[in-house]
Assembly symmetry: C2
Homo-oligomer: 232 residues x 2
């Protein structure tokens, strides 16, 4: 028996269309945002949808999601994670398409606004986004739930914020994601106690005359103490 030869055993089995859809989050002007586009082909042309693509048989799932992200934002080094797979037979009318959802977190400042525009994509405030085609609304809500869990247990929030941010900004970020209000004294106390922020010498005076000190996320310190559980 030739154990090392690689043969196809399943070439006769029925195959299925596989797609990835990206739930792309951003954070800007104190609000959670979502990148969407108008559907340009197939059914439901002109309606709003997540940004996705079919997967080529020669392409890894993850690579497919990265490709989509690169195509529509120009970015390639962003936080990207698989969220959930959607496999109801008639989720896309007329074709059997399984879709794997990926959610991405990007700093809105960083990305290439031209690419987005050319691509026909648009940023929406999360709380006033349009209804989406197919099961994409479900995909979004699943992804935002993962985002909530992850921003709480891991350092994920920092992927959405700019490199330099103030503590009030960071607090606002959590307040927005969770739709709650957080005591500013306790928040500052805890986040500084965690010792995962680097205080910079600069101040950001965009929001007040006094100005708030800027901080940056200290990834090294974080690695040795990855527990953000009790922030609020």
């Amino acid at each position: 028996m030739d154990q090392n030869k690689v043969i196809s055993y399943y070439s006769d089995r029925p195959k299925i269309l596989v797609a990835v859809d990206c739930i792309i989050f951003g954070f800007d002007e104190g609000e959670l945002k979502l990148l969407l586009m108008k559907k340009q082909m197939g059914s439901k042309i002109g309606e709003w949808s997540l940004i996705g693509s079919f997967i080529d048989p020669a392409e890894d799932l993850n690579d497919g999601a990265k490709r989509v992200l690169k195509e529509c934002t120009g970015l390639s080094d962003v936080y990207l994670e698989q969220s959930y797979s959607y496999g109801i037979v008639d989720r896309v009318p007329g074709d059997r398409v399984i879709s794997i959802g990926y959610y991405a977190l990007i700093r809105i400042d960083d990305h290439d606004k031209e690419t987005v525009k050319e691509f026909g994509a648009e940023w929406f405030k999360f709380n006033s986004r349009p209804a989406l085609i197919f099961d994409h609304d479900k995909m979004v809500s699943d992804a935002v739930n993962k985002l909530k869990r992850k921003t709480r247990n891991q350092s994920l929030g920092f992927e959405l914020l700019p490199e330099k941010f103030t503590i009030p900004q960071l607090r606002q970020f959590f307040e927005e994601i969770y739709q709650i209000s957080i005591d500013k004294r306790n928040f500052r106390k805890k986040i500084l106690y965690m010792d995962i922020l680097k205080k910079l010498e600069e101040k950001d005076k965009a929001n007040s005359k006094k100005g708030a000190f800027l901080y940056s996320f200290d990834r090294e310190k974080y690695e040795s103490n990855p527990d953000l559980k009790a922030l609020f």
Copy 2:
């Protein structure tokens, strides 16, 4: 424009084989167990593998996973949840197969031992399971991580335990899943305080002369207080 007609738009796109693989957990004799089978077709015949199947284009993903579970255990009303999707191009040598992992929790007492035997499946202690084919070991470790998280935040443990169980058994269950030891006084105090267990009049004398009272999970009470976070 005929908006209601359902047409196939993507029939020319390349398709991919899609499979589901089930990570089936049980709990018995104080130990976490895993149901595995010897591969019977394709490559790697005779090596241990998760129990899976290809998905038919006319079958929902979830239904495929349910079908697999029914075929190998005879059970259809069990806890079953999607865990993660695996899509590296060469994960299965010779064919492009995307696999969606599902993990199931079953009460070992309940299931049909004959069906399992006929199917060629076998229960392994989690800690002394054999190496698995392809990326199935990764699938198992991803699933057990989800299991840990879920048994902590939700009531999931009760899906693995028998209908009636003692408090020492329940504690042993958590100790096994997390590989830690838990103070029995504190554990009892907390779990009873949560008020999600019904105390029965029977005792289980299997493990001691004195006997331990049996309890059952009170799903109704749980629904109104689904917070198990602080058990240990």
